[in-house]
Amino acid sequence: MSLPSFQLHRPRELAEAVALWTEHGAAAKLLAGGTDLIPSLKQGLFAPDHLIDLGAIAGLTGISRAANGDWLIGAMTRIHEVAEDPILGREFPLLAAAAGQIASPVLRRMGTLGGNLCLDTRCLWYNQSYLWRQSCGFCLKKNGAVCHVAPGGRRCWAAFSADTAPALLVLDASVEIAGPAGARWLPLAELYSGAGDHPLRLGRGEILSRVRLPAAAAGMRGSYQKFRIRNSIDYPLAALALALRREANGAVTARLALTALNPAPVLVAGLERCLAAALAADPPDLAAVVQLVNRAAKPLSTSTVPADYRREMVLIQARRALEACLA
């Protein structure tokens, strides 16, 4: 199946990419690994006049250490490299686990970390051909005025479905955004708007260029729990990342995040306090923590797998992740 025509740009420098992206705005799309964008172009979800391929920018790849010990990963670093890097894997096994379960081996070699973080949200009513979408009168996210998932509402509930985002959220990662006014860093959670139809909070011309993992998060215990029907290729249908450390004084540092359920990856608020209370009981009572996850998850019928099952699944994942990290 052919792609619709567009003008292709292959900038060699990030600044050039930012300039092109600023110039063309909504008439352009950024191409990283292409594993999501190219199928979407085939389905007519986008018909950009300009495609800006980031693949020729040398400085956007690679894994390195900053002077303060933090880890820096270029946005165009392949998922496969993130999953397989031995030192990164030792320091942040959670990230390796999440990255290593993305799609299939060949797609992990093509897809990039930045692309995964900027993945478009997914929905049964959206990731379809023009004919298909026409047959239901289109939807809020593309060409239409109604949401078939929550009819009557004005919100798009397409699910954010990247695997690395929850892992990086619980590892307290931040992302570097290059833009016309220079570069800025922001906590990863702030990248996401929570709106399914425009999931990223990026301004005109802004490009995610690097990911920073704080040295403080290295060595945390982690668990990545992923539900999908097949053990390869599939996107997650519910997934959860937990990072946890028991400090010397007995305190617990813990963060938990969800993906593939809500229009954004969700860092569950209030986890540490709730967990501390749970652990104070003897035996520990994790039910309240599971309920916290239950309140944060908002799965809707964005997939053929029932939403209520995806909710039950994430609760099971929460318990399993906690048991694994507390063991």
Partner: protein, 189 residues
């Protein structure tokens, strides 16, 4: 736009629409139709080729994005008209039924074996887990990769042995069958 890359060892220079996929460049412009298109959503692996030695989906790459790359397709792995051990094993062990997933499957397996000459069954299964086959249930595909490995191991053992001993063993085993050449393009073409 002009795209230049190496395909199966030959430098190629193509004038292409920028929206041309690598799959289209191979199949339509270079008439290398061994690489197949099985889906439109990057989920079947039938179009797997090697780009700079790494497996990649030709249906999901812009040809222009491969400028300067070294590309290997199913047509490019036989040497002097003799199919590789992997290709012969797929034929012998039932790894190819309808044959449509076979080029992608062989290329994915080749990428694995090029980097890991002694993979476990689990590593083989993991490496092939992006390639869908609708005929075999994968059992004979796994057996094919194993058979190719066994043949390679046998050949390596032969090479390590003193030549006379190997010759004696070969004589004892009887005449070797003539090499099986790749068949020419179907007469229907």
């Amino acid at each position: 736009m002009i795209t230049a890359f190496t395909v199966n060892g030959q430098p190629r220079r193509l004038e292409l629409d920028p929206a041309t996929l690598l799959l289209e460049a191979l199949r339509e412009h270079l008439r290398l139709t061994g690489t197949k298109c099985g889906c439109d959503d990057s989920s079947c692996g039938a179009c797997t080729v090697l780009v700079n030695g790494q497996p990649a989906l030709a249906c999901t790459l812009l040809a222009a994005g491969c400028d300067g790359a070294d590309i290997t397709t199913i047509e490019g792995i036989a040497t002097d008209g003799r199919l590789t051990a992997l290709q012969r094993a797929f034929g012998r062990m039932g790894g190819a039924q309808c044959g449509f997933c076979t080029p992608g499957m062989v290329m994915a397996a080749k990428a694995l074996l090029d980097g890991n000459p002694d993979p476990s069954d689990g590593e083989i299964q993991a490496a092939l887990s992006g390639n869908i086959c609708r005929c075999t249930g994968y059992v004979q595909i796994l057996a094919s990769v194993r058979a190719a490995l066994a043949e390679a191991a046998g050949a390596a053992a032969d090479a390590a042995r003193p030549k006379a001993a190997a010759d004696a063993q070969r004589r004892a085993a009887g005449p070797t069958p003539p090499p099986q050449a790749a068949e020419p393009q179907s007469a229907h073409g």
